[in-house]
Subunit: 344 residues, 4 copies
């Protein structure tokens, strides 16, 4: 079986695993106060060109979103996000559990538009009854998005500008940030992200770690008292060094972008193979997630040898499917998939 | 330096680590639906003599407490716990974050008394204004407690009986369950715990795992819709198999109790050494945490060579300290400590 | 100035006021345990043909929605409602404050369709990832709606049927229930509402009371432990008899429907007057709220002598406005408005 | 029957009632934006010597406590209060419902001590693990307390000083503020309260109104975005003018203190009568609540003619009871009680 279901079907990248093994018997203090965490923080600050940045490690994406959003919003505020945003769809109401409404904006292949954000906020304060409504207090975006698309530097700058014009912070969910940064289409750096977003996180789980997300705020004043909030949200790992060790490794010798680049290149090869066979590309994604519209019989035959995800319900005649690559996808896997496709 | 600060200063037990390494490149589905999780669930069900049990893996203790308590309480109810309980003191308000009050009971070296629980609940419903008060809806206990003490089988049976007499579930926080089970003083089994507690969890983080807690409800009807709640609380690990692999290993060849037994035996040797030198034992603990009252000068000299925790503030003349052992503590470490003590 | 802005610009209906004055010096117990509340409960049970019904009085609409929804939903569930629903738009996030997501359905002039509810729930459980999503656990509707429209008996029966098919309770916000019941278009009774909805409330604030909403559950088992929840939500009035006295009066000699009928009749006269002058009716409403699309110059001249509400932002050339009647609107007020209209 | 059960067994003071009747048919805007509310705000600002004060009217005490505390606390913080505080005992967990822990301090007849507050906060930050604990973020006190006692000016100044030394706001629940201000023992004014407390509220429900509490913050910056929070907590009255009218009346011609003074004087007469008959005074209260320890047979005979409250459970031989006066208590009522007592 060939595996293209998601970017978290295997363990950790071997270099990450190696580091955990080497240090397994060392004694350190807990909760992220150890020197491995501190080293990882320094590496991340450097990559972000943000020497004063607050860097806090959490375990998973949903808890990170819930904790950061809870930290950034005031009680009467909600978080703006695309209708398709992970926080609006796939977090079992974690944001609402902390008392906040998700205020939905149109999704353009997973992205929101700066103009629409501007209009939403402006219209809100123009409404006579706005004090009876949930105020937009934060903008949440994903990079790369749930649809594999990415915001360009210009788009990020426009979003950042419109947020700051309205005094609203910008939070970027970077569960898939590596794949965005390593994309051929990327015209931005990690430092640009750190400069334009008030808070963002660097996803480890989907990019080579066993688990782990690194929250970054270039200006630590954006996240006062963040540590007890992380604890309150049940997101503080006792053996915190495991996060420091993993991120330290990912940010050594560019492993983080090497992993993502490898996956992106293979994803593009898959895309070309589907296109060559005449199948429709559903979304124009420059990252490690690829979406195709397949006739149902093709999909069924393919699924005997390859695992992938249905993207929405099975259609009557054709169905949208998702193929995902990761550090663990090999060129051989992709060759085998191409062969499969040409012999269906 | 000799390390006795806590039971989570190192990585995982080598057998656990080995298993993670062996399986690192395998593809599995996520979120705990993989076969490793299923195998671990079966091993735990067997150890609990509870073939139908719901077994759900979470990452850490605070999130487990918050999620289970949120699942078991109705809106108008609070959770009874000892004043010294972890949920009342050291979880940054995670229980209240989910909307619930902690109703405090007297702590007897970390334990609550069945009689006092009975009186609390009886008095509550005798009060004319009880509908304006937070109803006791759950009893939370720790085993071993934060003070290293354990409930005997008779005490657990009494607590279970009083809870069920009042129609209130009993939840046991087993972050340190291994050390309780492996204690010389233990007259109960894992199956007793599963039978007497409506819900409990088996702590992995403090007993040989990198992280992980296994929630068990012998009757799954006690935790309906638990999975989305785990997700909502940000407690669902994407690469869920990591939890299955660790617990599968811990429940193979009795590794879980072997680890705890090893630590307990060394802890008793430490206790004897302190007693032989004439130092006071602060709490009578049969598990891997030992508490001593040391003259400040003794404590200061000891701390140059051994790390341990102050248990409360430094006193004027003497101070209570905590020494903790784990699988990673060696007989040599303990010998070295004994030498230190006799040569202070 | 003629007042048509809303149904709560004055005090209470004189009969209600009279009752408060008469009883002002009597001593009663608090929190709704007095005999006036009990009498009002009996009158409401009779009107609902629900002799066992739980009837609980609260003060205002938002708190009633928040409390009832919190009582009916389990933690992992959200409430389905039209995008235009009061709980989704104008309650400052009160539902989310209690931890629940509002799951939006299309609004058809304020109403939801049974077919769309059915499809929403069916599709939800067909989604492979539904356990990562917020489960639909309740349907919220308003009668009359925020747009003055009403559900017919057949529509209510269809909604009730689809809810119960899926095991989901139906909650009807009756802040404007009087106007729906008294409408010429109404083919249902209060007893039908009580039979078809698991929980609903009878709005007092907008129908002649100073304040007050009466929650009704024909089967009290639908709202276990509701009293402490009301207290927890800050919705319990100390001098509870004020609610009993008001509802007792409203349900004596049909005052509740007399008030609503009076307002509806005047509203229809207003509608005819606008139509006769050739202005467009924006929404086909059989109740006390009427919506017109006026040329901006007409609207501006009218607003010099009559107060009414803009329904949404001012348009470039024409604007939608709302006129509302109540028990306090007099035939003379309406005559004066008609004169104004014909002489603009 | 003579009524001494509580201060909310009747309607409103006749002057308040009169004002509601007079204005019943006037049209005003809703939600507190009317001129009656504005006039009442000005009167309150004047009484507080706080010309810029934010004054917001809410309906009841529990909702006011929950809303203000939610507004003043940051997520990771809890509210310090006496163990006997209303928020800790009799609000069905309303504070926890908003996500906050009540941090208990010793109660001295309902009061907290500035020294103990100081020690609590100092000890908290001295604890190495304080970031895992709920930070004290607010001090809540009641004036008069649940036990009828009052803080002197010196005590209020000490509490204010210790709070501000630690950067913690001080919130005073004035549900019974009138009785404190009108007490012979009072050496402070409303302006002192406004100056020393960051936020406080003036209770209407227990001092002559049908309902209503007026939140005051001398510096409005202490309660930013308070209006939507009030709405979110379900505490915004649609016909807001009812609150303005009531408070406007209470703050005209000193009605508020006249009412309280009347009740206090009668309460002192009751106290003397009990003392003359040789019964023990349980708490030394200078306000309208009086507490006595009565032999059970005396209590039983008394209860045939007078209603009062048991303060705690019935004792074996004697029981503590509470007698409460209000504006509606007459000298004749007290005479009758005195007669009863001398003829038991």
């Amino acid at each position: 079986m060939l595996y293209f279901t998601s970017d978290y079907t295997v363990g950790a990248h071997p270099e990450v695993m190696e580091r955990l093994i080497q240090t397994n018997l060392e004694h350190t203090v807990g909760y992220g106060a150890d020197h491995y965490c501190e080293e990882a923080r320094q590496l991340i600050r450097k990559a972000c060109n943000a020497p004063q940045a607050l860097v806090q490690f959490l375990v998973g994406g949903t808890q990170t979103n819930a904790t950061v959003i809870d930290a950034l919003l005031r009680r009467h505020e909600g978080v703006m996000a695309a209708t398709t945003a992970h926080i609006n769809v796939h977090e079992s109401g974690a944001i609402e559990h902390s008392g906040h409404k998700v205020l939905v904006l149109p999704s353009h292949d997973g992205k929101v538009s700066a103009d629409e954000v501007d209009r939403y906020v402006s219209d809100f304060y123009r409404d006579d009854t706005f004090e009876h409504m949930v105020a937009p207090g934060l903008l949440y975006i994903t990079q790369a998005t749930e649809y594999g698309t990415i915001y360009s530097l210009a788009e990020l700058e426009a979003l950042s500008a419109v947020c700051h014009k309205h005094g609203i912070p910008l939070f970027l969910d970077g569960a898939r940030l590596g794949y965005a940064l390593a994309s051929d289409a990327a015209d931005f750096t990690m430092a640009d992200i750190a400069r334009l977003c008030d808070v963002f996180y660097i996803g480890g789980t989907k990019v080579g770690a066993l688990f782990g997300e690194a929250v970054v705020a270039a200006d630590p004043a954006r996240l006062p008292h963040f540590f007890p909030l992380v604890k309150q949200h049940g997101a503080l790992l006792a053996k915190g060094r495991l996060l420091g060790l993993q991120f330290g490794t990912l940010f050594t010798d560019n492993l983080y972008t090497r992993i993502a680049s490898h996956a992106n290149i293979l994803a593009q090869r898959i895309r070309q193979a589907f296109q060559q066979q005449g199948y429709k590309v559903a979304i124009d994604s420059p990252t490690n997630q690829q979406f195709f519209i397949l006739p149902n019989d093709v999909m069924d035959r393919l699924s005997e040898h390859a695992s992938f995800e249905l993207w929405g319900p099975r259609g009557e005649h054709e169905t949208t499917v998702r193929f995902v690559t990761s550090w663990a996808t090999t060129p051989d896997d992709v060759d085998a998939l191409c062969n499969l496709l040409s012999n269906l």
